[in-house]
Symmetry: C2
Subunit: 451 residues, 2 copies
C-alpha cells in the first residue's frame, strides 16, 4: 500500500488542493457559488476514485453529494459521511499563508479545511480508491458529503428522513475528529452536543454621548457583561437553574479509564500558551471537555471598536454564546431554558432579544460494537498501537441524528491532531497523518469484511 | 440683527457646509490630510469674518488655527476656543444622509459636526463677524481652534504653555455644550472630567475550537465580561477601591437648586427610547450625570462577530472603558487606580493588558463671575429667559487646562440640544439655534463691554 501512496502522492495532493482552493464557507452567504463549485469538484473526485454513480442532490440549503459503489446488493453497506464546507477563515491577517491556497511547510499542509473536513474526508475517499482499484472491496460503500456542517447541518436531518432507503447501511464512518496525539492513536467514542445563541441587548435607541448620559442611563455593554458574567460562577459551574438536571455523573469505572489516559498538562498548556487552566471544580481536564458541559462566549461586539477613543454610550451590544452538552442533555430543551433564563433575568433598563441559532445532541459509541472493533484493528495496523477509546469535547450533531433517523451507529475514525488548529488561523494537517489515515481506513474495510 | 442674519443666511450656511464637507476625524489616521484642509478652510473663514491676522500653528499633532482682532491693546480680551475635529461617523449605515454632506431637513442641519463642534464654533465666528462689521467691538478677540479635542487634546496643553503671552486674555468663551432644551436656555457651570482606557485580555495564544477546549480553558471574553461586570454593583456604584475617595458630597444647598431644574423624566426616557433609567442609588438623574462619576464600556469586541455561528474559544477580547470624573477627582490618579485594579484582580488563567488612552480634569465656573453674568444677559436677550446654571456630564478636559495654565475662567455658552445626537449617527442642529446662538453671543460682546 505504501508503494501505491508514494506513486500517487503528487496526484492525490493536487486533488486535495483543488478542493481547498474553493472557499466553501457555509456561514457566509457570499460564498454560495463556492458551495456549488465544491460539491461539483467532489463529484469529479469520487467518480475518479471509483464510485458507480454520484449525484448532487438538492436540499433547502447547500446540496449534498451522494455517491455509491454497490458490489453486491446482499452484502453489508458502509456509509461514509463527511462535509465539504469549512469555517470562515477570519481573521485573515493572522494566517502565515493564504488559507485557500494550500501550502506545504515543515511536512504539514496549511490551509482552511486541510483537516476539517476536506483533508479528513479525502482520507476516506483515497482509502476507498485503493480498495476499489485493488479489487479488495467485498461490501458496499456509500458516501454523503454535506455543505452545512459548520452551520449546524440544518438540511441533513430532513435529507436523511426523505432518503432513508437510499442511505440504508450497517454502519457509518466519519473522519472529522482528532486523536490524542500522533503517538497516541485514539478513536472517539463520545461527542458533546451543542446549543448556540445570539443575544442582542438594546439600551437607548441611538448611541449616546457617554458624558451627557453616562451614569444616568443603563449601558447595554455593561448590562451584557453582567448577564454573561452571571452565567458561570467561581467554580466554573453554569448557574442557570435546571442546566445540569439531565447530566449524568461520570460512572466510577469510566473515571478510572479516563484517569489512565496519558495527559501531559504542561505540554497542553504550552501548546495553547496559557499559564493556568480553568474549568469546573472537581473534574480533570479530560473530564471537563469530554464528560461535562461548557459555556463559552464565542463572540462579542458593541459600541466603538475602531482606533483611538470614542466616548459613547452605545445603543446595542451583541454576543454569540455556545454551550457544549453531554449525553441526556437535550439541545432543544437547553436552547429554550437559556432563552427563558435571559428573558427572565434581563433588567428593565434594557431590551434583551435572544435567538437559538443551532444545536445538536451528544453521542456515545459502545466499544463492544463489532464495527468499532474493526476500526480498532485498522488503526492498530496503521499506527502500531491499539487506539484508546476517548470521549471528545467537540460536537457533530448529525451523528446523533443518524442514530435517530437511520438507526445506525457511527464509528468516529478521526485523524486530526489538536495542533492542527481547526476553526483557527493557520489550520494545518501533517502529511504523514493523511498517508497513515488512508492505511487505517483501508485496513478497516478489510477487517469489516471479516466480521 | 435679524435682518443681517436673514440677508446673509444662505452665504453663512454655505460656509458652514464647506467645513462639514471636510471629514476631519481626528481619531482616524487616514484623515490626516483632512485635518490640514479643515484648518485651512477655517483660516479663510476667519479672515472673511474680520480678524486682523490668522495663523495655522503647528503642534506635535494636528495644527491649531490662531486668529485675532486687536481693537485696543489696553482693552480687555476675550479668547474664543473651539475645535475643528469631529468624532468618527461610524456606523455609517445608521445615517439617514451622508454625514459629511450637510442636508437640511425639518429645519435641522444633519451632519457629523453640525453641532459638535463645527456648528457651534461657527456661531462664535458669525457673532464676531456681526460685531466687527457693525463697528460694535470695543474689546479684543482671539480665536483658537484645535484639531484634537475628540481625542483628548494631547497637544493643546503644551501649546498653551508655549504661547501664554499670545493667548493672554480675561475670559475664554466656548460653545461646545448643550442647553436643557430649546425652551430652557442654560449655561453650563460644571463639566465632568474623564479617564479612558483600552483593555486587552489574552487567553490561549490562538483561537481554539470551543468543543475541543471549551470548559477546560478560560475564555478571554467570559473573563473580560466578569472583570467589567464587577466594576459596578447593583446600586450603580463603582466598586474599585478608592474610586470615590476625592468625590465631594453634593452640598445641601446645591441639591436644592438642582431639584428646582425642570426635568421631564418621561420625555427624557422617550427621547432615548428606554423604559427605565438606571444610575447610582440615592441620586436624581441630573445629579447622576452632573455631580457623580460614571463608568461606561464604550466598546467591546472579541471572537467571531460575523454572520451565522462559529464555535470558537477566542484568543483575545478587548474593551474601551471610560469613567466620567467630578471636581477633585484627578484623572491621572484615577487612571492609575483603574490600571492597578485590573492588573490586581485579573485571574492567572489569562493575561490582562490595560492602557490609559486619555483623560482630563473636571471644571466648575462660579455664577458670580462678571463675565458669566454678561453671558447670562446675552442669553436672556436672545431667548427671552434668564438661563439656568447647570452642571453637565460631558468633559472638555482643556477647560481645566486653560484654568491651570492661563489662569482664566471659561464661560460655556453652548447652544446644543440633547436631541442633536452628537457623537452618534444623525447628528443634527436646529437652524433656529444657530441664529439665536449668534444673537446671544453678539449680546454677550455688547454686555461684556459694559463690565
Amino acid at each position: 500500500m505504501q508503494t501505491y501512496i508514494k506513486e500517487n502522492q503528487k496526484r492525490m495532493l493536487d486533488e486535495l488542493f483543488s478542493l481547498i482552493r474553493i472557499p466553501s464557507v457555509s456561514a457566509q452567504p457570499e460564498h454560495h457559488q463556492d458551495m456549488i463549485a465544491c460539491a461539483n469538484r467532489w463529484k469529479e473526485l469520487l467518480l475518479m476514485a471509483g464510485v458507480d454513480k454520484v449525484e448532487i442532490m438538492p436540499t433547502k440549503g447547500n446540496p449534498i453529494v451522494y455517491a455509491e459503489k454497490i458490489v453486491d446488493p446482499t452484502a453489508k453497506t458502509v456509509l461514509i459521511y463527511g462535509h465539504y464546507d469549512v469555517m470562515p477563515a477570519e481573521p485573515f491577517e493572522l494566517w502565515k499563508s493564504n488559507p485557500f491556497e494550500a501550502e506545504i511547510r515543515d511536512g504539514h499542509i496549511w490551509a482552511r479545511g486541510a483537516d476539517d473536513d476536506k483533508g479528513q474526508s479525502f482520507i476516506q475517499a483515497k482509502a476507498f480508491e485503493y480498495v476499489v482499484k485493488h479489487n479488495l472491496l467485498k461490501h458496499n460503500v456509500k458516501f454523503i458529503l454535506e455543505g452545512e456542517e459548520e452551520i449546524g447541518s440544518p438540511s441533513l436531518s430532513d435529507f436523511c428522513t426523505e432518503h432513508q432507503e437510499l442511505l440504508k447501511c450497517d454502519v457509518i464512518l466519519v473522519s472529522d475528529t482528532s486523536m490524542l496525539s500522533a503517538d497516541l492513536p485514539s478513536l472517539t467514542t463520545g461527542l458533546r452536543g451543542l446549543a448556540y445563541w445570539q443575544i442582542e441587548v438594546t439600551g437607548p435607541n441611538h448611541d449616546l454621548h457617554s458624558g451627557h448620559f453616562g451614569g444616568a442611563v443603563a449601558n447595554p455593554i455593561n448590562v451584557l457583561c453582567k448577564l454573561l458574567a452571571d452565567v458561570t460562577n467561581e467554580d466554573g459551574r453554569i448557574t442557570i437553574p435546571g442546566f445540569y438536571d439531565d447530566v449524568e455523573d461520570i460512572p466510577t469505572e469510566e473515571r478510572k479509564l479516563v484517569a489512565a489516559i496519558p495527559f501531559d498538562e504542561k505540554a497542553y498548556k504550552q501548546n495553547i500558551g496559557v499559564d493556568e487552566l480553568f474549568g469546573e471544580k472537581g473534574f480533570s481536564t479530560i473530564e471537563r471537555n469530554g464528560f461535562r458541559p461548557s459555556f463559552d462566549v464565542c463572540g462579542i461586539w458593541g459600541g466603538y471598536t475602531g482606533e483611538g477613543s470614542k466616548t459613547v454610550l452605545p445603543s446595542k451590544a451583541y454576543a454569540k454564546l455556545s454551550t457544549r452538552l453531554v449525553p441526556h442533555q437535550d439541545h432543544e430543551k437547553i436552547g429554550q431554558l437559556v432563552v427563558d433564563y435571559f428573558k427572565r433575568v434581563a433588567p428593565k433598563t434594557v431590551k434583551v432579544d435572544i435567538q437559538s441559532l443551532h444545536g445538536g445532541q451528544a453521542y456515545v459509541c459502545p466499544i463492544d460494537l463489532p464495527a468499532y472493533q474493526a476500526a480498532e484493528r485498522g488503526f492498530e495496523k496503521a499506527f502500531g498501537k491499539r487506539p484508546l477509546p476517548v470521549r471528545r469535547g467537540g460536537s457533530i450533531p448529525i451523528i446523533a441524528t443518524f442514530e435517530k433517523i437511520l438507526g445506525v451507529k457511527t464509528i468516529l475514525m478521526g485523524f486530526g491532531l489538536e495542533s492542527n488548529a481547526i476553526h483557527s488561523p493557520n489550520e494545518n494537517m501533517p502529511l504523514d497523518m493523511i498517508w497513515r489515515g488512508i492505511e487505517a481506513v483501508v485496513n478497516f474495510h478489510l477487517e469489516f469484511d471479516k466480521l
